[in-house]
Structures are given as structure tokens and as C-alpha cells.
Amino acid sequence: MSLLSIKSLSKNFGGLQALNEISLEVQEGSVHGLMGANGAGKTTLFSIIAGNQRASSGSILFAGHPIDGLRPDQVCRRGISRTFQIVRPFAGLSVRENVEIAILYGREAPPKVSEAAALAQEILTDIGLDASADQPAGSLTLSGRKRLEVARALGTEPRLLMLDEVMAGLTPVEVTDMIVSLRRVKESHGLTILIIEHVMSALTDMSDTITVLHHGEKIAQGTPQQIADNAAVQEAYFGVAEPLEVSA
């Protein structure tokens, strides 16, 4: 069953066609990767789904209900949470308070204020940030901030988690750690994940299905293996229509 269903979604900024008639089905419980070069429209697609931007045309159904036109906070309470590629922590608040706010506002049925701190601590433990809970979020390292983006998104108790390059800028060890953490929280929270990632090994490692965007168009969709073998993808990335001949 598809949890998120996008039908012929377009977005133009003046004369620039950022997204052109994109249709996409994200299956419940799956990890769906979004791939494409810079400017392909991946983050724009995220922003439209999350309500940060409006589509020019097209429709978005989440769990069978239309969500286009809703404000970001309403989309969030419906069960969609996103992270930002350029991290946006509440820098002056503690790491725990960052997650508490997500818990208190992002859920359909929020807990009492007095229970939020303990719930936040659980999430921080899950994502490996429990030791930094009392630090100001602004003092975290990049890897910590990326984790906080994920922790805060989890605080809203999403059904669909949208991860925008949470591994960009991390060291290989940190990437491996992040993949392990994400797999764990996906299982424990029963998540569906839509993920944008430039670290290709991470993307192919995690995704069940990958959709490739190129200049705002959807050019391919399939399993990681199918995508790797796809001629259109190779053309978009390498400018050749056929696999390179390797001379012996």
C-alpha cells in the first residue's frame, strides 16, 4: 500500500521549471531513495511535501488524504517530518529542549509538558545523542547536528520521515554509524523513509526503491541494481548512452 502518493506535481519559479509532472508512490514501510544531481529538484520536492512551499500544480495524498495546501505545522501533525540539508537546530536551546518542542507540538496527541523531557531523552538515546542532552544545540559538531535533525524529526512521531542529506559532510565512520542508527529507528518506530542522499553507497545500501530526478523530470525508478544499470541514468550522470567499453 502506498503511504505517500504524488500525482503530476509541477513547480516553477518564474521561468525555471524546478519540477515537471512528477508522479511518485512511496510504499508503506519502505525506504525510498531520491537521487539526482544538484538542482535536480529533490529538495524542492521535499519542501512541497512538507508544506514549506506550494506546488504550481498536481496533488499529494498522504495515507489517502490530500495534504497539498496545508501549512508545515499541519503537515507535521498529520505524520510527515523532514530534516533540513542545511541543519537548522534551535541553537540557543539545549539538545533535549530541541526534541521536547518537537514532541510537544508535532504530535496529534501531545503528552504533558512534564513527560516531554523523559520522552526526548529516550529518542536521544536511540540516536546516540544522550550524552549531549544538556548542551546548547549550537555547540554540537556537524555530525551531532545532523543527528539532532533526525532526533527532532522523530520527536514528532512521524509515519513518514524525510531525510535530506543527513550524511553529507560526515566521515565514513560517522556515515556507517548513521546508517545503523537509521535502520534501528526505522524498525523501532515503524517508519517509512524518503531519503535524499549524495553518498551513493549509503543510498543504495538503504533504499528498497530509488527514483532518479534530472532537471526536474523523473527519468528512472527501480531497485538500486536496476538504477545502476539504467541507461538514462548513466546518460544523465556520465553523458553516454551505453556502458563504457573498457579496453583491455
Partner: protein, 313 residues
């Protein structure tokens, strides 16, 4: 972990606020009329700065127009004086200020940073001149208010408002509402992405922060026994509020109290002997705090506490 599960009980804070207020009120009345007026001024500034802090301290939107609320309350009470009783007109003045803030909130809160500061200042001046024009048109350059309550009576009222304003700031800071406002202050886009209804919270806080200043304005116009538009809409009132909040520190209910105490203390020391020195020193303190202690006196105290705790552990 222990810190996370630890919830502070609010009772000591409530008790300290009440006891402090009662002590100052009774002591000042005991010490005579001069000190009664000093105490009245103190509570007035605490109530005003505390209310300002409820919105500006928590959201980071610096309002330079809070005098509008004060003036609207004063205007309503002055124009209805002897027509409706004070116990009714003063809360109505607060309500009118709140409703006014609610109406202007949506357009005004669309801008932030320096634009918001200038816009609120300009709005306050606009309202001042509209009312000035209205009053002169009706041939009322100022209104004398005979038979206003005694200073002691006003002191009780204003002290009560200061207590209420302090407790509101204190409780909002601990509430879900307060945490949402903090998220707004830090990053509005991130706040709405995690479910914070940003516009609704800002508008509510803005309107709420105008109510008590409206009531204070009504009471203080009784104290001066005449009403003059230029006096109750004097922008210096807005400036003083912001100064006290900067020196004391906003975003913590103790900050505005410290700020008001500090500024009134300085005024008491220097006003009659060296008024020029008062303004020079005030300017220096303001610069000093902005540069070296942006979170005000309360920020300094917290920093000291934290560093001594760090040494102890």
C-alpha cells in the same frame, strides 16, 4: 538523566514573588508618601517590562511600541472617568489594548528584525497623533481628572498587576506555549516544520503582552490626575521598557525585576543631584550590557552559578 526527570515545583517562586511584593508595599507605605510613589513607579515598570518580556523576550521580536497599550488603557480610563467605575474601566482598558494588539498583530508580525522594531515604533507614533488630532478636534487638549483614588490605593492595584505579570512570565516560560515561543525565537522555519503553529503563537503572545500595560496605563493616568495624549503616548516609556529588559535580561521572570530595580535605584541616587550624569551612566550601562552581557543581569548571575557549579563538581 536526573536533570531531565527533575521538575521544579513552582511554589517557592510564587511565594517569593508574593512576599516580596507585600513587603515592598507595606514598607513603602510605612516610610511615607515619597517612598509610596517610588514603590508605585517600581511596580509600574516591573509590570510593563514583564509584559513586554512575555512577547519580545520570548519571541525575539523587539517591540518599540509597547507604549501604545499603555496609552490606549489610559485613554479609555480618562475618557470614561466618572461615567463607568474604575474597577470596570481599568480592565476594559487592558482589554482594549489587547484587542488593538490582536488587530494589528497579523500585518505587523509579517516582518521581523529591525523592520519590526521600526514598524512598532512608527505605529505607536501614528496612534499618538491620531488621538492627539481627535482630542484637539473635540477641544480637549488635556483632561483634568478630579477625585482620582489615593496613591496607596493605586499602589495596591499596580503591585497586584506586577505580581500577576511576573507570574504569567514565569509560568509561560515553563509551559508548552513558552517552549513554542522559544522555538519561534530560534528559527521560525524549523519551528513550523516540527509542528509549531508559528503565526498563532506570535499573535497570541503579542495580544497577551498588551493587556497588563493597558491596565497599568489606566491606573497611572489616575496617579497624574490629568490626561494628556503626549504624556501617555510618550515614546520614552517604550524606550525605558526595552532598556530595563536589556539591563535586567528578558526571557526569565527575574530579569525585568532586576532591570526595574537597577534603573530606579540609579535614578534615585542621581536624579536629584546629577541628572546629566544619570543619562550618561544609563547610556554607558546600556552599551556595556549589550556588548558584554546580552542576557542582562540575570544572564550574568546564571553564568556565575553555572561556572561555580562546574568548579564544584
Amino acid at each position: 538523566m536526573t536533570k531531565a526527570s527533575m521538575t521544579h515545583t513552582p511554589i517557592p517562586a510564587i511565594a517569593a514573588t508574593l512576599i516580596g511584593a507585600i513587603l515592598i508595599v507595606s514598607l513603602s507605605i510605612f516610610m511615607g508618601s515619597y517612598w509610596t510613589v517610588v514603590a508605585l513607579n517600581l511596580f509600574m515598570w516591573i509590570a510593563l517590562t514583564q509584559s513586554w518580556s512575555l512577547f519580545s523576550g520570548m519571541t525575539g521580536y523587539i517591540s518599540l511600541g509597547h507604549v501604545v497599550a499603555y496609552g490606549i488603557g489610559a485613554y479609555l480610563v480618562a475618557t470614561t472617568f466618572k461615567i463607568i467605575p474604575l474597577w470596570l474601566s481599568i480592565p476594559l482598558g487592558g482589554l482594549a489594548a489587547g484587542v488593538f494588539a490582536l488587530i494589528v498583530a497579523i500585518p505587523v508580525l509579517r516582518v521581523r528584525g529591525p523592520y519590526f522594531v521600526i514598524l512598532t515604533f512608527g505605529l505607536a507614533e501614528l496612534v499618538k497623533f491620531i488621538l492627539l488630532y481627535t482630542e484637539t478636534t473635540f477641544g480637549k487638549s488635556s483632561r483634568l481628572l478630579f477625585g482620582a483614588p489615593k496613591t496607596e490605593t493605586l499602589l495596591y492595584w499596580v503591585a497586584a498587576l506586577a505580581v500577576v505579570a511576573t507570574l504569567i512570565t514565569y509560568f509561560v516560560g515553563r509551559s508548552r506555549f513558552g517552549k513554542g515561543l522559544a522555538a519561534v525565537r530560534e528559527d521560525e522555519t524549523a519551528a513550523e516544520t516540527v509542528g509549531v503553529p508559528v503565526t498563532r503563537l506570535k499573535v497570541l503572545a503579542f495580544a497577551a503582552s498588551a493587556v497588563i500595560p493597558g491596565m497599568v496605563g489606566g491606573l497611572m493616568t489616575m496617579r497624574s490626575t490629568y490626561f494628556d495624549v503626549l504624556q501617555v503616548f510618550n515614546p520614552t516609556i517604550s524606550f525605558s521598557i526595552v532598556t530595563m529588559a536589556i539591563i535586567g535580561g528578558a526571557g526569565d521572570a527575574r530579569g525585568p525585576i532586576l532591570g526595574a530595580l537597577f534603573m530606579l535605584g540609579l535614578a534615585e541616587l542621581l536624579w536629584s543631584t546629577a541628572p546629566q550624569l544619570y543619562f550618561i551612566l544609563l547610556g554607558l550601562f546600556l552599551i556595556g550590557f549589550v556588548l558584554f552581557a546580552p542576557n542582562g543581569m540575570i544572564g550574568l548571575i546564571k553564568r556565575r552559578k553555572r561556572s561555580s557549579a562546574g568548579v564544584a563538581s
